[in-house]
């Protein structure tokens, strides 16, 4: 049968745009200590900034000609990234839209509706930048057209006990229609969760946000208290700050819009069987790095280092890095620009950031080595692997919650033969003694 391309509601070729939500500097606290020196969306995993993995997925949708980055970082932050995008994809216009006050994910979209609606697009994607997945945007588009949908959300299955940490989707197994949506429910509702990737029809989403704003001013949202679990979490690790001075203008997609859309009956879910992870804490960059490297390996990317006796794929080595042939790297290792890896070094499941030096016979496992750091001879920098299906990067060790991934901030130094295990080390520290299970200020 001949496939007739679907037409947009406005007639003619459907017009699609994309929005990448990047948040702002105050929201990157969980990504400390790495976000102390670089905005999270620009942190490199698998050799590319987190945000560019989103952008790369967008470029695979041929009809997208315009991409907006929405957030409240300073304009200068994304200037170089946008330049790079225009160079590699001259047919796509990329613009940064800066929010001057936190408006919430939906509030921000609404605020910039004129820019988004310019050229009368029929629909647009919304991608959260702190998500690591294969972004099956074309499949979402196909479902959208097939169902004549107003909204499509990307969903994934997680273990039952992890589901309540996310937005939970109840869907009709057959029609894929979203029947019910609850953000971080108290009790179990579903193990199909919101991946933070959406496709909205412009005709449906803006009225929906507008009516949510109207409802808000009529009836302020009930304050919800954090669950006890969230409270203990808060004491151990830096958390995202809740917007304390939150006003009624803050409208979030997750809390305020999606459950209403579920009632509209034109809301569908595309369940991805592919990988999906959130990039919240700094430690989650390690599994994200692994997943993106694996993806690059499966698609036979030319960027990756050639497998050999000492290169267990996938491994990314920046062309300007120097790696001694006796060093054994991989799997899931990214070596940044100008990094120097000495003889007999072992690196596994780790990210080594630019200008770092790893001296001979050192061993680095499940760790992130910050920019310009030095790791001494026979030193051991080690984190603990978390189970593949686990969506957390902290583990309980001897009854104490510790970071599973060891992170050295910018320009840290680990002395020869010293062992650092399950630690987070803030920038510019010299570690001369063995340390484990600590945050080093």
């Amino acid at each position: 049968m001949l496939q007739v391309p679907m037409r947009g509601k406005s007639g003619g070729t459907p017009n699609t745009k994309a929005v990448i939500l990047v948040g702002g500097p105050s929201r990157g606290t969980r990504f400390r200590p790495l976000s102390l020196d670089l905005p999270k969306p620009l942190f490199e995993v698998a050799g590319h900034p987190i945000i560019s993995h989103c952008f790369a997925a967008i470029t695979k949708v041929p009809e997208i000609r315009e991409v907006f980055i929405v957030g409240y970082y300073d304009e200068a932050v994304f200037r170089d990234f946008i330049k790079d995008c225009s160079r590699t994809n001259p047919n796509i216009a990329v613009r940064y839209l800066r929010e001057y006050q936190a408006l919430g994910t939906a509030g921000g979209l609404y605020h910039f509706r004129d820019a988004i609606l310019k050229g009368r697009p029929d629909r647009f994607f919304v991608l959260n930048a702190d998500v690591c997945c294969s972004f099956p945007l074309n499949e979402m588009l196909r479902l959208f057209e097939e169902k004549d949908a107003e909204a499509v959300i990307l969903g994934t299955r997680v273990p039952n006990d992890a589901a309540t940490n996310f937005g939970c989707i109840v869907s009709d197994a057959h029609s894929k229609r979203v029947l019910h949506y609850v953000e971080k429910p108290e009790s179990h509702i579903s193990n199909l969760i919101n991946c933070g990737v959406y496709l909205f029809s412009t005709e449906a989403i803006f009225p929906s946000i507008k009516s949510a704003m109207k409802r808000r001013s009529d009836r302020p949202r009930l304050v919800s208290y954090p669950s006890s679990d969230a409270l203990t979490d808060r004491q151990t690790f830096p958390q995202e700050d809740d917007d304390d001075g939150e006003t009624n203008e803050v409208i979030r997609l997750e809390q305020d819009i999606l459950s209403d859309l579920a009632d509209s009956r034109q809301f569908y879910v595309l369940e991805t069987k592919d990988f999906w992870r959130q990039i919240k804490t700094a430690g989650s960059a390690v599994p994200a790095n692994a997943l993106y490297l694996m993806k690059a390996f499966q698609t036979q990317s030319e960027e990756l280092a050639k497998p050999s006796a000492n290169i267990l794929p996938p491994v990314f080595i920046h062309p300007t890095a120097t790696v001694d042939p006796s060093a054994k790297l991989g799997p899931n290792v990214s070596i940044g620009p100008r990094v120097n890896v000495g003889a007999g070094v072992r690196i596994k499941e780790s990210i080594i950031l630019e200008d770092s030096e790893i001296r001979h016979d050192a061993c680095i496992l499940y760790s992130i080595v910050g920019w310009g750091s030095r790791v001494g001879a026979w030193a051991r920098v080690e984190g603990t692997p978390t189970p593949v299906r686990e969506h957390s990067t902290s583990i309980v060790k001897n009854g104490v919650k510790v970071q599973s991934i060891t992170i050295l901030g910018k320009e840290c130094a680990v002395a020869d033969e010293v062992k650092i295990q399950n630690c987070v080390c803030l920038p510019f520290k010299e570690l001369k003694r063995d340390v484990s299970n600590e945050v080093i200020m």
């Binding site: 006796s326 070094v345 072992r346 016979d361 061993c363 051991r380 033969e417 062992k419 295990q421």
Partner: protein
């Protein structure tokens, strides 16, 4: 002259090593522990050596036969059917120890030191009384039984004070004695303690003297002390410019006190020392870092591993980039996987360790 070495029981304190070999045969400084004593005894003219054991003498018999010839001594096993304490075995061996009037040595098999047997004999003969205890000075006498001398005599013992709260002296029993055969009359054939029964009786009669030990002394009955004792032993060899040690001119030697059996092989770019003993046929890979450790015969340490304060048992394998420390002890034929970290792991024979041992524990 004659000697009795108190070997005693199963040597459980030195497990997991003693699950494979009886304690006297475990190599200390690349030679069975008991050989250090046999050699020193033979050197002062001892011809009859009694080993007081209460288990598995058959393994030891075969092993010790060749030493009988080598050192020209008769080694007899005195097997206790029930543990007789530290004095009972002397009575059991009365036939040998009392066969003539010459004094005999009694040694605890766990003790390692520079055995000063010549001076000891000389001193013992000079005072003419029944017994002499070798004593060593310690920093913290409160943990031991302390010897107190008669106020009017430099060596005659007045009394023993067990774990003194107040400082009464810092000389403790080093576990080496020379005794006249006459003391055998003081011992009954039953479980009895030489320290708690025989010696106090001798002290009462003014028959017991002390002799100060020069140099190092260590009870190496457990792994932690085995390692400390090894350091002391190697240090004493360095002082004597012993040929047993690997010269510091070797590029891989760091800080000295390194003893390597000639049959061992060492990889490139290793850094070894201080205080390392490497046994026969041991293989050390490239880029290995060793310090304060003992590698027993036939073991293999693979490339880039880091080993400190650890005893690697016979025929064991340490994986690439593995890290062992904090008194880890590997029994016979243990395998530590690549990149594995062991903190105070005590691993029983034939085990394979594939995941980190983060805190001191016994791996059954």
């Amino acid at each position: 002259m004659k000697a009795l070495i108190l070997v005693g029981g199963f040597g459980t304190r030195l497990r997991p090593l003693t699950l494979t070999l009886p304690k006297p045969l475990v190599e200390f400084g690349n030679r069975p522990m008991i050989l250090h004593q046999i050699e020193a005894l033979a050197a002062v003219g001892v011809k009859d050596i009694v080993l007081a054991v209460n288990y598995r003498p058959e393994i030891m018999t075969a092993a010790l036969q060749k030493y009988e010839e080598e050192y020209g001594v008769n080694i007899t096993f005195s097997v206790e059917t029930e543990p007789l304490g530290t004095a009972g075995p002397l009575k059991l061996a009365e036939k040998i120890l009392g066969k003539d009037d010459s004094p005999f040595f009694v040694l605890n098999s766990d003790v390692i030191c520079d055995y000063p047997f010549n001076q000891l004999v000389e001193f013992h003969n000079s005072h003419g009384n029944e017994g002499t205890i070798v004593v060593t000075k310690v920093e913290e006498p409160s943990k031991y039984g302390v010897i107190v001398h008669k106020p009017d005599h430099p060596s005659r013992i007045d009394r023993f004070v067990e774990k003194p709260v107040e400082f009464v002296g810092n000389r403790i029993n080093a576990g080496l004695y020379i005794l006249n055969p006459s003391i055998l009359k003081r011992i009954e054939l039953r479980p009895t303690s030489i320290e708690q029964e025989t010696f106090p009786a001798m002290v009462k009669d003014g028959q017991l003297h002390s002799f100060d030990l020069e140099g190092f002394w260590m009870d190496v009955g457990q792994p932690k002390d085995f390692l400390s004792g090894t350091c002391l032993y190697l240090t004493s060899l360095t002082k004597k410019n012993s040929k047993l040690l690997t010269p510091a001119s070797e590029s891989f030697v760091n800080g000295g006190n390194v003893m390597i059996d000639p049959s061992a092989t060492i990889g490139k770019n290793c850094k070894i020392g201080p205080n390392v003993v490497i046994g026969p046929n041991v293989q050390i890979g490239d880029g290995v870092r060793l310090q304060r450790c003992v590698l027993l015969q036939g073991c293999k340490v693979k490339e880039h591993a880091w080993v400190k304060s650890t005893i690697v048992g016979w025929n064991s394998t340490v994986g690439r980039w593995a890290r062992l420390e904090n008194v880890s002890v590997l029994g016979d034929d243990v395998t530590i996987g690549d990149e594995v970290y062991c903190n105070g792991a005590s691993v029983l024979p034939h085990k394979s360790i594939k995941a980190n041992v983060d805190s001191p524990s016994i791996i059954m």
